[in-house]
Symmetry: C2
Subunit: 415 residues, 2 copies
Amino acid sequence: MQELITKGESAKQASRKLALATTEEKNYALEVMAEELIINAGEIISANLFDVENAIKNGMMQSLVDRLMINKDRIDAMAQGLLQIKSLPDPIGDIIESWKRPNELVIDQQRVPIGVIGIIYESRPNVTVDAVGLCIKTGNSVILKGGSEALSSNKAIIKVLVEAIEKTNLPEGCIQLIEDTNREITMEMMKLNKYIDVLIPRGGAGLIKAVVQNATIPIIETGVGNCHVFVDRYADFDMAERIIINAKTSRPGVCNAMETLLVDKQIAENFLPKVLKSLVEKGVEIRGCEKTRAIFSQAKPVTEQDYYAEFLDLIIAVKVVEDINDAMEHINRYGTKHSEAIITADISHAGKFQNEVDAAAVYVNASTRFTDGFEFGFGAEIGISTQKLHARGPMGLKELTSTKYIISGNGQIRE
Amino acid sequence: MQELITKGESAKQASRKLALATTEEKNYALEVMAEELIINAGEIISANLFDVENAIKNGMMQSLVDRLMINKDRIDAMAQGLLQIKSLPDPIGDIIESWKRPNELVIDQQRVPIGVIGIIYESRPNVTVDAVGLCIKTGNSVILKGGSEALSSNKAIIKVLVEAIEKTNLPEGCIQLIEDTNREITMEMMKLNKYIDVLIPRGGAGLIKAVVQNATIPIIETGVGNCHVFVDRYADFDMAERIIINAKTSRPGVCNAMETLLVDKQIAENFLPKVLKSLVEKGVEIRGCEKTRAIFSQAKPVTEQDYYAEFLDLIIAVKVVEDINDAMEHINRYGTKHSEAIITADISHAGKFQNEVDAAAVYVNASTRFTDGFEFGFGAEIGISTQKLHARGPMGLKELTSTKYIISGNGQIRE
């Protein structure tokens, strides 16, 4: 707890100076951090080795060990990421709107840093570098709380980044890593309103839920995606198949991957056999409704639970629906309002779907996999917001900012 | 609890239809609601009489009884408020940004309703009408939880508004009033994530704090304003006095009123006597630092607690500071980041103050009292946000909206 308060206070104080840093100063810091990562790669890799050996000893799944592992290439990629952030325009200081009132008061709405951003994550150590880079670019102090399985790696990375900051004009204290691995600390951090302005959880559904339930700090909820592709009766079959294969199999473990396929009953018999066969060939397990199973006997029976599931795996639920309305009804009931797609050549169905489906990203004739800060052209991504306040969908630099009103008068008083 | 779930479910269902309502349909509903308020004024006034008599019986302060009371004029004002909201542009459906990616995907960011907005308030019954009008205009269902002392009035008002909605195309269920006055219900409402998308508390510091501490729904924190006016060494004395009198005395009970006056020591002796005398003549109690008391002996001694206080009354704390940096240091330590003003003729001091002070509204040479949706020209106000997420400062219609990304492709898949 004392660690939290000390580091919180330090981050808060630093945030006041950091908010006033120039773009040049921030960009220089990003450059130095990138250089220092490369220079100190050996140190980071050996610290990571400790985590990796521990993970293997503790029986961590090979795929997770792979994600945890840091090598020279991955450090190069982290450094490149910082230089990429450096190259992006600085949103701080932008005047978003400006107007003059009848009483001659001039009101400017200016983009400013949020202050102190807390990030609780359980992802790979590269998130550490990424989050620091995005926060520094937007003039925010950052307090990181990573998973205990990556603590040694994260400590080594943060040590390098903090030492890099010391070589610049940016204030000491703007980068903080909570090292106490006690679970209670995470709970306390969620209630640290005095020092943290916004909390962003990055990780699985369990982590997100814990933060939603317990945080008193404003949060940005990220992540859970039970995404659907609906193949309308007016779909181009080849296009639909291409998109389905991409949405389901290109990276099944991510939040913008498709989990359930919905098909209009008018085309189900003609459309499903070929696409489901292709999916099976890609190693996908099919769980179908009764109509699907009548058409494609290899499909296992689907359960209601499957419709709610974010499989994050090579499993797909398939349902034959009455029409577009039935499809939207299903999406509304089971979806998580992340990314939803319709495949159709009919302009009125396309418009209806985009208008009526309530989700962060609604696609016509494209893969749900595009819901991503880089694919949207933001040049960065801090996560994908699934809430409706502040940010919705992929978040880039702008989503790490707040605004303030600057009002200039010549003696105006209110009547 | 059952009431919450039933009404929450009903509001959520209605919100899906309401989100698709046209501007004409929503404006027509606002018009009918305004008419019905006038037609049913007698019913509302007699329901209000019940609350007023109870309040008097329970020994409520006269000023609060006045706020509670509804008469014909106040109903006219409520109806006028709805027509004013009707006249505002509908933000829903606006395309905020639109761009094409190198792969030809077209991305539109569109303004959409939030869904269901919960409002917990303890203010006058006119807030009931106001909140309903703003939510309907922005296509949001609304769930209201008012104070028990106004329950009879709120029930009568909501009955009229719900019956008005029934005469239109808007979906039944989009306006809900929680009638259970059990305190537990308010706590449960703060955790109703399944049905409420955003919660806005409107009321005193105690209510706001309870919501921040207990809500699991995303909230917009409103209200607490410990606002400062700093008179710089380069201030025009007459302008400063005019602004101080306005900021302190024009309506001391509101959040944008000034609570502490800071004066540069170089001008304190010349400036303070006249302005403090004027304040005293207006009935203001002066609580000054030692330097202030040496200049103006009528001042009582100020305490550290006074510097933190939102008096909401004819009381002012006065402190002589070293310079602009000392003033900003004080504002940073004791302020609530609501509205802060500098009075100065020096352009570099003006710029420094606007740049370095972290608050929702930062004024140069104008009264803090302008922090208000109407004064900003928004034509409406749902409250003043003092948080940094989503909205900061006065909130109009736009702040009751979210966005979604609409992506149009021709078969794009992600590499």
